[in-house]
Point group: C2
Chain length 318, copies 2
């Protein structure tokens, strides 16, 4: 039998990571419409925009306008992502939440190819942001290990490498005088399997039993929900997901882009196993339909088509 | 850590259950083309056709022609499904394998609505087939509990009900003098969750530790692969799946039809966790592409788009 957590926080990545993988040209009004629909579902945190280079990511060129357009609902966190100091400064000028973190990559090769920096240089760059976080009262609570389960250049990532990266994050945090409460493991390249996640989280737990673990999973090879379940069994407290699986279309403009695991499908699985998420599945299905209307085609999520089991139970009881 | 099985048999349902959920009109030649591509993947059993009423299921009206058209490869089992005596007699006239089983439904209501028979009457009907099996040297080795995790009419199915159905199957087998080696649990209505499967299989194991358990899962609500993983952890030895997730299109003619879990995605997950399936993932991806070409649109499987990790490892090593 499983030893599942009582409660999991699902954080919404659709408007940020999902729209980033979609062809450019979705209107500000439509992006705002989806974000506002998501705010009605019980989500406590919605990643809304990335402040990234508009020439490299034209889909996010309207980040300022989207951020300004959202009618914010009390109790919901609306967050903005940044990847360098310029992005951080743009984010701080806007109305959305800016979170601090310490990010590293499991793969040195990927770090060099992706951001043109060694892992050490990436830490050095982030050191420069600390005074900015301090000046804006932004806590640095999470460490992030990108590509924690495998890398398209380096191949399989051993659990020991993940442990090394976590130690480097904690050493860096100690140097900076910040306290890391948890580690997020991400898998944008789709190398995670249930077994790999169990081994990596097990290795972290063995050394740092009090660290929270979060997962950011993509459904590149169809096993994302199995990996999520393995994560739940290992006591993961926070998972990223994307409404309707937004970003997961094989026809999307960004070649090879595959979306995060689907928010409402994950919420369904949690609810049916007695894990609290605070989410309203009917409202999520409505938001998933908004997402489909915004991109103008069917998206990969399943519960929006199959319907909830609660709806069947209600019908049978009436 | 998981205690995963060393080996799992994946049985292909695409040509049978998949095509049954597709709009009618797929040519015999195309059906045969897919079956022959599947035979090159290492699959030991391919469900090819259903001998069912052509007025109720026009997609299977060509069952005789498809069965006759297959160039059979030695070592591959090509099977035919039947649901009543008339279908059984048609199946026996054809060249494909006919398997015996003892089938029941977790839900009495569903049995009455679906086949117009009580559970007891359904057993009585099957008793009549036993002399036919005997005359054709067809063993009766598996029991099947349909809708083992929930029913759209009766709602949740408790593990105790599954235990009762297994007992009824074993009692019936004893009466008939046949030995059941395993129980297949099916979930065409999409009620299974990892927890429900663990509880049902756990309840069976507690009473009959030597019975094999097989799963027939659909991905109605996006958690099919998580359920499959839970099944593997519980020692399931056989799983049905459908190439490319065939039958899983929300635009399909049969309303609400959602396909089985995807063969190549399941094979990928097993291979990456060290579970032998005997399947060639590259050949499965080719067969998935044949399936898409036959139905003329994208199908829901993921590995055929994302590619295998072995392909990346090979590229990096070269």
């Amino acid at each position: 039998m499983s030893d599942l957590p009582k409660r999991v926080i699902i954080e919404e990545e659709g408007p940020r990571e999902g729209f980033q993988s979609e062809p450019a040209g979705i209107s500000v009004a439509n992006k705002v419409r989806l974000i506002e629909a998501l705010a009605e579902t019980g989500l406590s945190r919605i990643a809304c925009v990335s402040y990234v280079n508009p020439r490299r990511v034209p889909q996010m060129a309207d980040a300022e306008e989207v951020a300004a357009g959202i009618r914010r609902k009390p109790g919901v966190g609306y967050s903005a992502l940044y990847l360098n100091q310029q992005g951080l400064e743009r984010a701080l000028k806007g109305p959305l939440d800016v979170h601090g973190s310490l990010r590293t990559n499991a793969s040195e090769t990927f770090s060099r190819k992706n951001i043109g920096k060694s892992l050490e240089d990436a830490f050095v760059e982030q050191r420069g942001w600390m005074p900015i976080f301090k000046a804006h009262d932004i806590p640095v609570e999470w460490g992030v290990v990108l590509g924690a389960f495998g890398c398209n250049y380096e191949g399989d990532i051993a659990p020991e490498v993940v442990v090394t990266r976590v130690r480097q994050i904690l050493d860096e945090a100690a140097l900076l005088g910040v306290t890391i409460k948890g580690i997020k493991l991400t898998d944008a390249m789709g190398w995670a399997t249930p077994l790999r996640v169990e081994r990596a989280i097990g290795a972290i737990r063995e050394r740092w039993p009090d660290l929270e673990v979060a997962l950011h999973l993509h459904d590149t090879r169809g096993v994302g929900m199995a990996v999520a379940y393995a994560g739940l069994r290992m006591g993961v407290t926070t998972m990223d997901a994307s409404i309707a699986g937004l970003g997961g279309c094989p026809f999307a403009a960004t070649e090879g882009a595959v979306g995060n695991i689907c928010t409402e499908d994950l919420a369904f699985m949690c609810a049916e196993m007695g894990i609290e998420t605070g989410l309203d599945l009917d409202a999520l299905i409505e938001a998933a339909q908004v997402a489909e209307s915004v991109v103008g085609r069917k998206l990969p999520g399943h519960v929006k088509n199959g319907g909830s089991l609660e709806a069947i139970r209600r019908r049978n009881a009436s």
